[in-house]
């Protein structure tokens, strides 16, 4: 078919060119442009900033002047903009599509939150400027603390921890300090097999031995096995609820009672709080300490790996051992307590300054936007979306456990048996379909795990399309279309990367060619 200018209107020619596989001169595939490292584009003489001249002066560096070249490559502003814009386009992101990473809660990041976090009175303030000049910031921290305590039904919260794992450390240290105060030194922490890796790693950092508790065939903590392992030497249980199989721990109250009965504490990993926010309060479940990943439930952006924030709510029993600093609301002003009081029992300081203020602002803006009504709906819609995925895929994929699930649905690789396709291959084929894969090979309690968390940010249309895509790939796997999987991804900026070579012979920085 020809248009008025007599050119072909379809893209047959282009498609054919693609199939003949000719290589472009630049290595680009249209908008997919390869990009060199800054060191290969710029050099030590380039710069993208203009700074005022410096007049001659007598230095006070005591003869310590740096006289060797550092080797830093510089780029002018247009070069830098282009470099990082091109790099950004090689990333998948929530803004581009459903991001079903289970346990990670990849929900929409409202831009309002970015805007308010940049207001000068909240961002251009120094952690050590006089307390009378940071009252607005302390008000934000105090208000956020109030929301967190109310949502969890817990009496106290500490805002210091910088992420979930840091929160775990905070909770376990409070527990260890509380036990020490009673002269009760214990040595063991119990974690379920399904626990996230940070749980045992944290327990070890706190000087505890870790004992794993098996899961039941229903994907929950084996209460009987736990009771058997409990004793006077157990400091705490660390249980994730909803758990990493995406299930609510039905016997949570019994677990809490059991650990309390032997004088231990209940640490709850709150990474999955999104499923129950506004619907269930951990304080009603016998929890003594729980971290909340503001970068999950309360939508502060993941930023390619961080930053996060992990405030920890604490029971009355643990509150006196909370780290410093903390904000005190006085009658007419806020204060921040930076040193333990006389005779105080704080276990110490976890970080310089006062925690992740930039995340606090964003999280509070998110909470205020939703309100108590919106937050309960967050939980409901996230659980609804996950159950919808489970219901729509369980006839073709192997669901690991019976539903209903919470905010994520767990499948394993039984449905791929005898297809020659592994969980990894399946995930990589999803990339060719324009999706980020789900969490793979976690939790460890099922074989070839695939943990799908759609979040409440997805419309029905979006979830339907995802389901359609998954069903299509399952069919392809069962039909023996091996190549589609074994070589995937074909359409990403790069083909599958050799991770073994990377670890065998690590190249961790750029080196000038000889």
């Amino acid at each position: 078919m020809l248009n008025k200018q007599g050119r072909p209107t379809g893209n047959e020619a282009a498609a054919n060119a693609g199939n003949t596989g000719f290589q472009s001169y630049t290595g680009a595939k249209g908008l997919d442009q390869p990009e060199l490292l800054i060191y290969e584009i710029g050099n030590t003489n380039h710069t993208g900033v203009d700074l005022p001249e410096v007049e001659d002066f007598e230095t006070r560096l005591g003869g310590l002047e740096r006289d060797q070249e550092i080797g830093l490559a510089g780029l002018s502003e247009p070069e830098a903009m282009r470099h990082y814009t091109r790099l950004s386009r090689k990333n998948y992101a929530i803004d581009m599509g459903l991001y079903p990473l289970g346990s990670c809660t990849m929900k929409h990041n409202p831009r309002l939150n970015e805007k308010v976090a940049r207001f000068a009175g909240l961002s251009d303030i120094h952690p050590l400027q006089p307390i009378s000049t940071v009252q607005g910031a302390l008000d934000v921290i105090d208000t956020l603390a109030h929301w967190l305590k109310t949502l969890t039904g817990m009496p106290a919260v500490t805002m210091s921890p910088k992420a979930g794992a840091h929160g775990e450390l905070c909770g376990l240290m409070a527990i260890r300090a509380a036990l020490a105060a009673k002269g009760d030194e214990r040595s063991i922490v119990l974690t379920p097999e399904s626990a996230h890796g940070t749980n045992p790693a944290t327990a070890a950092l706190c000087g505890y031995k870790v004992k794993a508790i098996p899961a039941t065939t229903e994907g929950r903590v084996d209460l009987e096995a736990m009771k058997e392992a409990l004793g006077p030497d157990v400091a705490a249980i660390m249980v994730t609820n909803p758990n990493t199989c995406g299930l609510f721990e039905r016997e949570i109250l019994e677990m809490a009672d059991a650990v309390h009965a032997v004088g231990g504490y209940f640490y709850c990993d709150g990474a999955n709080f999104n499923a129950i926010v506004g619907k269930v309060r951990p304080g009603d479940l016998g929890v003594d300490a729980m971290h909340i990943n503001l970068h999950k439930t309360f939508s502060t952006p993941h930023g390619g790996g961080g930053p996060g924030a992990g405030p920890v709510v604490l029971s009355e029993a643990l509150a006196p051992f909370a780290p410093i600093p903390y904000v005190l609301a006085g009658d007419d002003a806020f204060d921040i307590v930076e040193h333990d009081v006389e005779g105080g029992q704080s276990f110490g300081r976890m970080t310089a300054f006062h925690g992740q203020m930039g995340m606090f602002t964003r999280a509070l803006a998110y909470m205020m936007s939703h309100g108590s009504d919106g937050l309960a709906r967050v939980a409901e819609d996230s659980v609804l979306n996950a159950n919808y995925v489970l219901a729509s895929l369980k006839d073709v994929m192997s669901a690991s456990f019976d539903g209903p699930c919470m905010h994520e649905a767990l499948f394993d690789d039984r449905f791929l048996k005898d297809t020659g396709v592994s969980t990894l291959d399946f995930a990589k084929a999803m990339i060719d379909e324009g999706y980020h894969p789900m969490t793979m090979y976690f939790p460890l309690v099922v074989h070839g795990a695939m943990l799908i968390e759609p979040t409440e940010s997805e419309s029905k249309q979006s979830v339907d399309q995802f389901i359609g895509m998954m069903r299509h790939l399952v069919k392809a796997a069962k039909d023996g279309e091996l190549e589609r999987f074994s070589g995937a991804p074909y359409n990403a900026p790069l083909k599958r990367l050799d991770e073994t070579a990377a670890a065998r012979d690590p190249i961790l920085r750029w080196q000038a060619p000889e």
Binding site: L37, T59, R60, L61, G62, E65, R66, I70, L72, A73, A80, Y84, M96, E114, K115, R118, F119, G121, D124, I125, P127, Q129, S132, D139, A163, A165, T198, T202, A204, L205, L253, I276, G278, K279, H302, G305, G306, P307, G348, A352, F353, G355, Q356, M357, G358, A365, M368, S369, G374, L384, S392, E456, K460, P489, A492, K495, R496, A502, P506, L508
Partner: protein, 449 residues
Amino acid sequence: MRYLPLSSDDRQAMLHKIGAENINELFIDVPDNALLKGLIDLPKHMTEMEVEQNFQAYSAASVPAGNVPFFVGAGAYRHHVPASVDYQIQRGEFLTAYTPYQPEISQGTLQALFEFQSQVAQITGMEVANASMYDGSTACGEAALMACRVTRKKRIVISGNLHPQYIDVVKTMTKFTDNIVVVDDPTVNKSENLLDQIDESTACVIVQNPDFFGNLTDFTALADQLHQRKILLVVVTTEIVALGAIKSPGEMGADIVVGEGQSIGNGLNFGGPYVGLFATRQQYIRQMPGRICGQTTDADGKRGFVLTLSTREQHIRREKATSNICTNAGLCTLAFTIHMTLLGEKGYRHLAKLNHSNAVKMADKLKALDGVELLNDTFFNEFTVRLNKNAAQVVEQLVELDIIAGLPVSRLYPHNDDLKNDLIIAVTETTSEDDMDMMISELKEVLSC
């Protein structure tokens, strides 16, 4: 609710597919009395405009550093960040991506991390760097733990001139692992003899350069002495701009270098999020904490980047991991890298020189005042003065005059009477001559009455 796309029709249709009558059927596993019957006692949802207005009010109740002559440093520094940095880190492809677990669709984040690690290694003068820690203070705690793993010893000796909150963090992080932490007294203007503190069981000595009070030290001789006794030298830098002017810790023989990277690319943000820098020698990489990005090739032989050496990390090693860190400072490392790329060698060195020259100017002006003694012989962009009055009270008086004069040392050392008249003053490229003159004339008044 503007963030929730499901309509009531959608919800009905989905419940139908699931085979549930109502939403609470999906919460069936929650113990009966724990499922809330009504809404939690918190305000209902707000419009975008209402939320914004709330935050305008919060913001108006603080005094931004940029509105007044401002001289506080002590581990966080006010620098000018180019507009393009903040634009780039708000691109959705960077902002709304997760940790790069799927390298084929995360090359943007990964390549930027590789550039970050390269820059950090170069600046610190070390062979390798990781992909960040939470901040400088927790990086310092991790360095102490790593030194104990490397040397298989337990004693940690800390300079009294390390930032006091960093000292506290090291103490906390090593509190329950049988470590012994020995801390020297702070000495504003005398040199420390750290060698007196070491013994056979010592794993490392931790020092800071420029130190908490702003002094510069050559640690080359200390490094040699420690190495003869198989003890590691950990050097902390809380003002990374300084390394554009002074010899790097690597050149002095440091084994582990940690730092706060906030100064480059990141704002003050009332203390966080910041970016912890962590660099060491190649021989120790398998003992390093945190994520590491490495170069490799794809199935077509093209260069690409992946997270590597993950057998050190919690998701593989669990209780035997080198650290429990998972989420780190991701986006703050990106801001660091973009700003550093805009600076380049030339800009970085020039920025350092500008900071130093401004600080020298201010130190000279202060020195000329009655009642002010400059305690430092050497400094970069921060120094300590001893006033003829209580420094905290002077700062309070100057706040009334819209000047934020510096950090009274007593805020961090409330029980040390020797330090109560000491004020730490930071000067950066953002400090104007007018700022300096306003501070000088008001300080003169306050000190003389």
